[in-house]
Symmetry: C2
Subunit: 179 residues, 2 copies
DNA sequence: GTCTATACCCAGATAGAC
DNA sequence: GTCTATCTGGGTATAGAC
């Protein structure tokens, strides 16, 4: 049941957000009563943390594989990694970021942000550092990765009609300006 | 009182979000009782719409002035416009986008998205179209403006430690890649 | 482990007095 | 126009039976 709760909670939290997802809704889908949750978790926010922990472990492992792939170049690695996030994490990134920053208690925010930074951003930062010589000298890598995540958010968001990740990566790498 | 409600509601909605802002909180700040709101507005979501309507009119007028300024070039116009949004709209864009997409009824979402597209995005689209010859031929302008807004969101968000808008615009225009 | 019952709180909204 | 009083419904969480 613990894992089942996480499965449903993951889906609901990531699509509707933390506040909009009630413990009742989770248990209704599972066909059990609402207090059942409180045998497995002490508080609602603990469910959120457990969901994020499970998710981020999986994400980090897989992203790292792409970074270490010796057969691919920077641009195609980036595309693969973003494609992977789209498949594995077909949620609205905005919802997640919003929750981490606004829907949860402060301490939880800190813990979640650390989790997110290492698992999600970490592999991208490593990738760009290993390709430092291909980047403009003035670029701040941590900043550049933040920007990429923001862009990705719009991509993994279904409100964006476009579906061409390589186009997004191209703009990210080369900008919109004619040289 | 109507305008006063909008003033307070604007601030609360834009910082805390729609769901986290209660009618009680708004009226407490104003020093009146909670039902007072329902003399001026039929539903809570009507307050949100009125706030967005007032805000977006102001934003559109001002952004358009920058676009029409004959003394500035593309890059400095972009910087001015984003700076203006930061001053006038010192809110978390994510919060607003999250609300528009997830916290409000579907019909309202549509209305708000149209409002946002014309008032906020409109002037930027116009600016890029008027500078078409300076952009890479492959760039889709509507898409490029969407990307800019996403980037801006991270900028107007206080979680981003960096505070240099021109750096963001530079990356947006030129990308991170060494040519 | 899951149930029933329920406490408690806070939300949006309405009725009707002043 | 704003008030008091109140309805209704939703949420998280707990106690204790089975």
């Amino acid at each position: 049941m613990y894992e089942k709760i996480l499965d449903i909670a993951e889906q609901l939290f990531m699509t509707q957000g933390y506040q909009a997802t009630s413990t009742r809704q989770i248990t209704e889908i599972l066909g059990v009563t609402q207090p059942t949750i409180y045998y497995h978790f002490k508080k609602k926010e603990d469910i959120y943390y457990a969901v994020m922990l499970r998710l981020s472990k999986d994400i980090e492992q897989n992203l790292t594989k792409f970074v270490e792939d010796p057969t691919q170049q920077l641009e195609s690695k980036l595309i693969s990694m973003v494609e992977f996030l789209r498949e594995k994490h077909p949620f609205n990134f905005f919802v997640m970021m919003h929750d981490v920053q606004h829907s949860l208690p402060k301490e939880m925010t800190t813990k979640l942000y650390q989790l997110f930074s290492s698992s999600y951003k970490g592999p991208f930062i490593r990738l760009l550092k290993e390709n430092r010589e291909k980047l403009q000298a003035s670029v701040d890598i941590e900043f550049a990765v933040s920007q990429l995540f923001i862009l990705m958010a719009s991509y993994l968001d279904n409100t964006n009609p476009k579906d061409n990740i390589s186009e997004m990566i191209y703009l990210y790498l080369h900008g919109i300006y004619k040289e």
